[in-house]
Symmetry: C2
Subunit: 456 residues, 2 copies
């Protein structure tokens, strides 16, 4: 009865929800770029206003040393479980801008997808839980469980202030279940519950030699070139089998279990389609593993950015004095980001050629996560997804990192339900990021049902 | 008598010459950057006006498919030698701008040096010959020899149009001596005649894989990363002894002669000073050679620029779809740039890892040059330099490339007198490029005396 009223409210407000999402997506809340600090704050304020409007008077900004947190709670169901919903309102930088078909902060609907930076990661997915909450409050007479909503603005830059806040507020944030929608379905029409995430270790290398740029004719061959040196260091990180060569790197890696390899092999995954989707000439990765295994359960190393010397048009015969790279390792259980940082620094020291100086900057890291698939929360989530999407979810892992999952486990003692509404080709972090509006609405319905399922 | 009047004219016009040089340096004639095409033309027009003003009515712009040539001649001395003076009015891009202490196109005098892009390469040095010509025309009653002046605007971008012009105008440009000041002295107070130059082979590598940037968590480990691949390719170019690993690369290299190694060893060159000047932690280069030998007479390989992925502030976990590098080889006799291009392309094809596509762009190249040190022209130049600088020159080679020297040899059959007025630390192609004003005036005087010496 109540559930039907909630469902009817969702059905009646589809257009409104889409317009509200567009308004949120128009705010360039790029947490990494200081010149967007005011925009980032504006996104937080937008959410507080939205929570107030649906009747959550407790909604408030929580100031941090960086971008503020958004928090709201409804704790009027003593004896019933408490559900903590987490999301993030900050987005990745949109650069490079050239490949975007429409401006990244002017949401555009094409073929049923909404195109904008943050569409799927994570504004669109996070917003499904707010609209589900709105339906319960407006049409259901209140939540069927206790609810805490925590939305951060620094997920894309490491979330250090969220981490401090959670550590300092364990009791206030205590909950029975945590829910995050910041992952993907397995494929269109195949919703999934993600039971494993990779961790992350992110570094920056700065290589210097001479005190200023030099003429490559007058000085070439007599002083080290930081660009050549950087290339040597980066090239040393993997062997021809795409195995990472850093000493000790694989020692703590937990092997894939037999049931996982069997389950992954059963999933309808087409290597040919994956190759077409990405446009690569061939799929490449660590020897001895399938593409899904590499993607979900094996550590990787990617250079994320590289720079140095002359990048303008035409030739310039300069011997540059500085080169840099950003690079990251995706980690699996039971690798420790701090241990990886130490191993990486030792490796760099070992392979740095003479004549240059190297600085290693250690950015944020996170360990990998595995949650148990046989629990009341996961079973409730399965039923809710079936209600929202019309089909039961599959179980998968993911190659991305959501550091907050480890944070919540460690500080609140809860496993997180990772209920992804996105698709693998949503191009999060890349140009023309998208999110299916159909999945947006299915996700809202699944979220609404989840609260009811977790109550019982 | 005449020489004294010429010298007196030079002495009386020092301030005027400096102001004129500043006016020329204020023009941002960056031949590589199309948005500066009008500025580049303006520099050519400035020179034509200057030549007209000194009485060379023949001075004119010669249109090409790119930036115009400046040409003037005075052929009223039948039976006497003809001297072709070459220079270039275009300059390297000033980027990166941040390390400049003053704007690159606002010449500033600091400690007797004039600081500006093009100060030494080549506006300042080229201008010495124009002011010497002016002195002969204004105070000497005309030149003591026949003179042809040819100044191009595309030296920094390969000089293809000059090449076409010289090939099509061999008779008009016929001469007995060619003179270029676009090199350096050995050291302050040690003027030099440069008898050897390195050649150049310049390439650009573009590495691509996926059709757009991807999330490094969702796709890392399954598709090749062009940045990692580019690093592998670049790292493969040299071994730990700093020898270039391209097959066949060293086959045509002419070994240093014994007298050269002995002469170089005698020059007052301090490795410690060179290290301090460049600011490197140690000098590095091909095993088995001294720093001067590496610099002047051994081929080198330097990455000049590298780019790809995210270069903004903070971390971004992107798996980029494209990476690129500009790189060049400095060549020695008897390496052929076209053969090196073929060898380089074969090497790249061999070492490119699977899963990426690589495009090799071949930019301009030039063979190395060696000229005989025992000739009437070199002896005349030695006397002229002694008159201008008060000390006889030493003989040296240079690591830079001046493709026009090979062009003139091949088409006009003349060796070029390379009379450098610059210093090694002038930072040409880098920030805060400079040129000593004292050497500017000494160079003018040496150039004026050279015309008289070549007459006899």
């Amino acid at each position: 009865m109540v559930m039907e009223r909630v469902d009817a409210y969702l059905e009646a407000h589809r257009a409104t929800f889409e317009e509200q999402l567009k308004s949120l997506l128009r705010i360039p809340s790029i947490s990494a770029q200081p010149d967007h600090d005011l925009d980032t704050r504006r996104a937080a304020e937008f959410l507080v206003d939205d929570l107030h409007a649906m009747g959550l008077a407790s909604a408030t900004l929580i100031e941090t040393q960086g971008h503020p947190l958004v928090y709201a709670e409804s704790l009027d169901k003593p004896g019933l479980p408490t559900v903590l919903i987490y999301g993030h309102y900050d987005v990745q930088p949109p650069e490079p801008l050239e490949p975007w078909n429409s401006p990244p902060f002017e949401p555009t609907v094409v073929n049923g997808n909404i195109i904008a930076r943050g569409a799927t990661d994570d504004k669109g997915q996070m917003f499904t839980h707010l609209k589900a909450a709105e339906a319960w409050l407006k049409a259901g007479g209140g939540f069927p469980v206790n609810v805490k909503i925590l939305i951060e603005g620094e997920e894309e830059v490491g979330g250090a202030n969220l981490e401090a806040y959670v550590k300092a507020n364990r009791e206030a944030l205590a909950c029975d279940y945590a829910v995050i929608s910041d992952t993907s379905q397995f494929a269109p029409g195949i919703p999934a519950i993600t039971y494993g995430l990779k961790g992350l270790a992110y570094f920056e290398l700065i290589v210097t030699a001479a005190k200023s740029d030099l003429h490559s004719g007058m000085f070439g061959g007599t002083v080290a070139n930081p660009l050549n040196a950087l290339a040597s260091i980066l090239a040393s990180l993997k062997d021809a089998d795409n195995r990472i060569t850093i000493e000790g790197f694989y020692d703590p890696v937990r092997p894939l279990e037999a049931w996982e390899r069997a389950e992954f092999a059963k999933l309808p995954f087409s290597e040919a389609d994956f190759r077409t989707q990405t446009g690569v000439p061939s799929l490449e990765g660590e020897v001895g593993y399938t593409t899904l295994e590499r993607r979900w359960a094996r550590p990787t190393c990617d250079v994320n950015g590289i720079f140095g010397g002359y990048q303008g048009p035409g030739p310039k015969t300069v011997l540059p004095c500085k080169a840099g790279a950003k690079l990251s390792f995706r980690l699996v259980p039971d690798q420790d980001p701090q241990q990886v940082a130490a191993q990486f620094q030792a490796h760099v020291a070992k392979v740095t050629p003479p004549g240059v100086k190297v600085e290693v900057i250690v950015h944020h890291g996170a360990p990998a996560v595995l949650v148990g698939v046989d629990s009341p929360g996961v079973r409730a989530a399965s039923r809710a997804i079936e209600a929202g999407f019309g089909v039961a979810p599959v179980f998968m892992r993911e190659g991305g990192s959501i550091p907050v999952v480890g944070l919540l486990k460690e500080n609140l003692g809860v496993d997180t339900l990772l209920l992804g509404w996105g698709q693998n080709d949503d191009n999060l972090h890349g140009p023309n990021e998208k999110f299916s509006l159909a999945d947006f609405h299915k996700g809202i319905k699944a979220s609404a049902h989840l609260l009811a399922e977790l109550a019982g």
